[in-house]
């Protein structure tokens, strides 16, 4: 069909089968989907976003706005893939999108007829009234029509890696400038990474026909890549797009490891998201062809002239048998010459310049313009208006349009750089403040000739290495073409009422920009948002400048004055999977397992996630069908005899040093200086603003050694806080902090029989009697015949209770031993639910109460805040606003009907008061069913709570509609005098 008989960097011996919209085709290794479709005579590849206009390829690279296709099926189905960069593989299934029922006969093409209504600002103007229509009518309609392609609802079967790379010099783009930079630095021994988005390195060298020395430029590129591949200090990252330039030499890049395969090899990732740490970088991202707008310039077959040349030279494909060129610069002529050389019939070069040069073998229409095109599903002809004003039609199958080249400045302005206008090439070049350590070379810097690219690439590498203290000579590169850029800017053909496209993907036309101007949206950022110019998935790579130029013309400003919109990462769209990496599903974050985890699994425990920890929630028995049955049983068994719970997850911090006690005295609001060795004390930490931060216990193991516990959730932040105090506030205190959360397996052994159980395990030389080891005692002991252990007589449940810790590796064995030894007491393991029930029954504050809004006073611990010493948060806790006598106080609540559930989060109201903020008396923080009281119970904060004991208030939840009458009681439902824990 349209495959030329010779040339191209394709492997004609390899036939690849693929389908497009179900139709089978053949291509070759080295093809993109776009080149293969063109070779098969397929010009129509998609429908536009808004008007559903038929579209074909515009470009030959990642800037493609039109040829968006859906690849693959099932979980791997991926919409919006640019056919121009989709590497062909055997069995590829591609489909068009945004068309129904078919690409050729698309129902929503009706939008094209309605274009007078669907202009810029359409949404803002049309869907305003009536407001009630929005949710039910407008939005569903818009949502159905909006979006490109469809995503699979199946899980993505592929995996994605993330990784980190380090280099002296990152070279972005492997065209002539990039290859020159990489060779210069690589030969000098520097650590170089050369990244290129294409699957074949060489950039434009693969798409041009001129020589480099005595080689073709493509052969020279292949040789350079081979040399680079042989250097151990150079890393080649093909199929890798550098997505963004971040602070201090950090770049993000996505490597498409397996997108050119039917599916990734087992265990291998589909893509890798690299974080690249570079000392210096050279941006050699080349330049992007830009179109000229004219009426109906969006038909399949109308494409960028540079792309047309690439298809002919690199892929040996002509988009049609007869073509024409529409240009405002000499580069259009180059395309015509290359096409002629390959035997393609070039009908004419339509050159807007009156002084257009001649071109051998083809008619040049100087001072002429293409004013319209025809062909419903593909270009059939264009109308040319000659300098004389005379119009005639050219019957062609493809038109190559060359409006000049835009240096690809995107990455250069990801930080604070704003491109500068360069009159000589009529384009923006990198300017302002570039990302730290970045230089720009070659076409990206506005040096469009191959010789210029080689020179600036090598020069940038030499300068970069010189920054790093390395002196390097410029390599001796062969001579290459060094043609000047000759262009007379020409942006759009005026004098037409028909639509002339600027942004193909978002269907933005010259008329839309004119309307934006009329309606006052003239600043570029306003223009962009009002018209959606440049807001599509291609981010306006081929369209932004055209839009700016039209706006400049309308405002009478220069393009330089008009300026560009902000470039932001990512450079091209990224799969969400690549951003997630391995952190998906169960691997979203690591799982921390308690020392008794394996044992708990054997018991059939139900687990709950607490941060990263997986904790046993409760231990259901065969005859229990409801979680409450299990939890009630665990609570009753613990309060009735003895229960064991793994509490390893509590944070543990070893505080040592001469000043350890003085240090804790400042960290906790209550006193610690006088705590005796072998004793434990409850401690409350405040934030400096006087709000409670965390609580726990501190056990004095020796004069200069404490073991501090934190809540599970705050283990990390408390450690950070204590390090802050140690390093920044009191740097000369002799205190050392070590986190030992993981080093000890710790179990709560609670209940009236806990002592009896422990006496069977703790070695006999240690006295566990109430006198020998009283409430709040601690000590280092041994268990089971000499295993080192720590014992703390502390109680969260309110029962006689201990916490016993052994080195983590013995935790599993200790749990089993406790269960064996406790059989005679009917020992019961309990989980976090029973733990929670018992602490609510006892009225102990936990995370729900230490919620970042409450003070010691609110918590009923106001008197703990010592005024005899300076401690963090003490001063501000005494502020007037936090000392309100009528403020919130922690109290308990009993529903009038014991079987009526009270829910945490309910707000407290007086009887008869309307549920309004003004009547709010506080809120319920924790609630549960208490098997001990045979009633639902709750604790929470009530205004002047301590004076309202016995009152009846309402716990109301407008969210759930519950409204329960509750009696205000002490929060200590069980053993308020604390006799059990001292028994």
């Amino acid at each position: 069909m349209n495959r030329l008989s010779t040339g191209g960097q394709i492997d004609r011996t390899t036939q690849l089968r693929f389908t497009f919209d179900g139709q089978p085709y053949h291509g070759h290794a080295g093809d993109t989907l776009a080149s293969a479709l063109l070779a098969n005579g397929v010009r129509l590849m998609g429908r536009s976003f808004k008007y559903h206009r038929p579209r074909g390829v515009l470009s030959a690279g990642s800037e493609e706005p039109n040829a968006l296709v859906q690849l693959r099926k099932g979980g791997r189905q991926e919409p919006n893939t640019r056919a121009t960069v989709a590497e062909l593989f055997n069995g590829l299934e591609a489909a068009s999108q945004n068309a129904w029922p078919s690409l050729k006969l698309d129902a929503l093409a009706i939008n094209d007829r309605l274009s007078n209504f669907l202009t810029a600002g359409f949404y803002y103007k049309t869907f305003m009234w009536p407001a009630a229509f929005w949710e039910k009518l407008y939005e569903p309609i818009i949502r159905r029509a909006a979006g490109l392609g469809s995503i699979s609802t199946d899980p993505d079967p592929d995996s994605y890696d993330k990784g980190f790379l380090h280099c002296d010099l990152l070279v972005i783009g492997a065209g002539p400038a990039g290859l020159a930079a990489a060779l210069t630095a690589g030969r000098a021994g520097a650590r170089v990474i050369l990244a290129d988005e294409d699957f074949r390195m060489g950039g434009r060298l693969n798409a041009e026909t001129h020589g480099l020395g005595d080689q073709s430029c493509a052969d020279w590129a292949a040789g350079a890549v081979a040399e680079l591949a042989s250097l151990p200090n150079v890393r080649l990252l093909g199929r890798t797009t550098v997505l963004g330039a971040f602070d201090h030499g950090i770049y993000a890049a996505v490597e498409r490891v397996a997108d050119h395969l039917a599916e990734p090899a087992p265990g291998k990732p589909r893509q890798i998201l690299w974080r690249i740490y570079s000392k210096r970088a050279v941006l050699c991202a080349g330049a992007i062809d830009r179109p000229i707008s004219f009426a109906n310039n969006d038909r399949p077959g109308i494409m960028l002239a540079g792309a047309m040349r690439a298809y002919v030279n690199r892929w040996a494909v002509t988009p049609a048998q007869t073509v024409a060129i529409f240009t405002n610069n000499d580069d259009g002529h180059r395309t015509a010459r290359d096409l002629l050389a390959q035997g393609v019939d070039v009908a004419a070069i339509v050159d807007t310049r009156v002084d257009a040069p001649a071109c051998d073998g083809v008619q040049v229409l100087a001072g002429a313009q293409v004013v319209d095109s025809a062909g419903r599903l593909g270009l059939k002809s264009v109308t040319v208006r000659q300098a004389s004003g005379q119009e005639h039609r050219l019957r062609i199958g493809a038109l190559g349009v060359s409006g000049g080249w835009n240096p690809n400045v995107a990455l250069s302005s990801h930080q604070r750089g704003r491109p500068e206008w360069n009159e000589a090439i009529a384009a923006f070049v990198p300017g302002g403040i570039l990302p730290q350590g970045m230089r720009v070379a070659g076409a990206a810097a506005g040096r469009f000739s191959t010789q210029g690219a080689l020179e600036t690439g090598a020069g940038a590498a030499i300068q970069a290495l010189s920054d790093l203290g390395k002196t390097v000579q410029a390599p001796d590169f062969p001579m290459a073409e060094d043609g000047a850029t000759r262009i007379t800017p020409f942006w759009h053909v005026g004098g037409t009422k028909a639509r002339a496209w600027l942004d193909f993907q978002n269907d933005v036309t010259v008329k839309d920009v004119t309307l934006a101007h009329q309606e006052g949206f003239r600043a570029v950022e306003h223009l962009k948002r009002y018209t959606t110019l440049g807001m599509a998935t291609d981010q306006g790579k081929t369209s932004n400048l055209g839009g700016l130029a039209v706006m400049a013309e309308l405002t009478g400003q220069s393009i330089a004055q008009t300026g560009t919109t902000m470039f932001r990462p990512p450079y091209t769209p990224v799969a969400m999977g690549a951003l997630a990496g391995r952190s998906v599903g169960r691997d979203f974050r690591p799982t921390r397992l308690t020392p008794s985890h394996i044992w708990a699994v054997e018991q059939g425990a139900t687990f709950v996630e607490v941060g990263m920890w997986l904790r046993a929630q409760y231990f259901p028995r065969a005859d229990e069908s409801d979680w409450r049955q299990s939890v009630d049983r665990e609570v009753r068994a613990t309060r009735g005899s003895v229960g064991v719970c793994d509490v390893t997850t509590l944070g543990k911090i070893d505080v040592q040093g001469r000043d350890a006690a003085a240090f804790l005295n400042r960290i906790y609001c209550n006193g610690f200086a006088k705590l005796a060795v072998g004793r434990v004390r409850y401690g409350l930490m405040l934030r400096e603003d006087g709000i409670a931060m965390d609580d726990g216990t501190a056990a004095r193991m020796a004069e200069d050694h404490f073991v501090v516990t934190t809540t599970t959730a705050n283990a990390v932040s408390v450690f950070r806080h204590m390090e802050f105090a140690r390093q920044c506030l009191w740097p000369d205190m002799d205190v050392q902090l070590i986190s030992t959360t993981e080093a000890w397996a710790q179990f709560a052994v609670a209940g009236p029989k806990s002592r009896a159980l422990l006496q069977k395990i703790v070695d006999p030389e240690f006295d566990l009697s109430n006198d020998g080891f009283p409430f709040m005692a601690c000590g280092e002991i041994t268990v089971c015949g000499g295993c080192p252990a720590r014992l703390f007589r502390i109680s969260f449940s309110g029962e006689l209770a201990y916490e016993i810790a052994v080195p983590t590796r013995y935790g599993d064995a200790l749990m089993r031993r406790l269960m064996d030894a406790g059989r005679e007491f009917d020992v019961t393991p309990y989980g976090t639910e029973a733990l929670g029930v018992m602490r609510i029954e006892k009225g102990h504050a936990a995370g729900n109460e230490l919620n970042g809004q409450t003070t010691a006073l609110n918590l009923g611990m106001g008197r703990m805040v010592s005024d005899k010493k300076d401690s963090i948060g003490a001063v501000l806790s005494r502020r007037e606003g936090l000392q309100d006598e009528n403020g919130l106080r922690l109290v308990g609540f009993l529903p009038k009907n014991p079987q009526e559930r009270v829910i945490a989060g309910a707000h407290l109201l007086d009887r008869g008061a309307a549920p309004r903020a003004a009547n709010d008396l506080g809120y319920v923080t924790s609630a549960c069913y208490s098997p001990t009281l045979d009633s639902y119970i709750a604790i929470g904060f009530l205004k002047s709570g301590e004076t309202r004991l016995g009152d009846v208030v309402r716990a109301a939840s407008p969210l759930t509609g519950q409204d329960t009458e509750v009696t205000v009681v002490s929060p200590h439902f069980v053993d308020p005098k604390g006799e059990r824990l001292r028994a």
Partner: protein, 186 residues
Amino acid sequence: MHDLAPLTALGSSAPQSDTIGPVTITENPDMALVSVAARLGQDAACTTALARILGTSAPDVAQFVQGPTLAAFWSAPHCWMVTGPDDPQSDLSTRLKADLPHMASVTDQSGGWVRFDMQGDGLGALFERLCNLDMARMAQGGARRTVIDHLGCFVLCHGGGVTVYGPRSGARSLHDALITAARSVF
């Protein structure tokens, strides 16, 4: 001697070893690990004493050193981790406490960590997928704390390969991350 049977961090009685491509990843539960934090102003004394105990100079910032029986690495300013064969008869932390009187805060960390010893060619390529350390520049004798699979880990480079210490409770996740990355690379 007590009769509680230890479990490895991966939850078995015997350490696990996996070979993937050229790399072998082995859990090593037989090493004691003790943190030594110099008391205020005792930095120099501590460094000297450590050198005597280790039989080689104490590790400098971000360094790992191997002595005749004990090894050590720098973990934080004025703070080191000392590691050696786990000997129930002669507890390493007890010995260090005795050898560093009034000089240092000594804390047994053996139970807190899982240790994976990794050997073979291509460890550099493997670690590119695991953490942001520049392994090519770390070479032998480097020790850094870093993040692998969201977990704070120590990575030590030495003659025998690379050792990773990770939080014990996350041992399975960490092991899974190492294995998955190795399968991905090799």
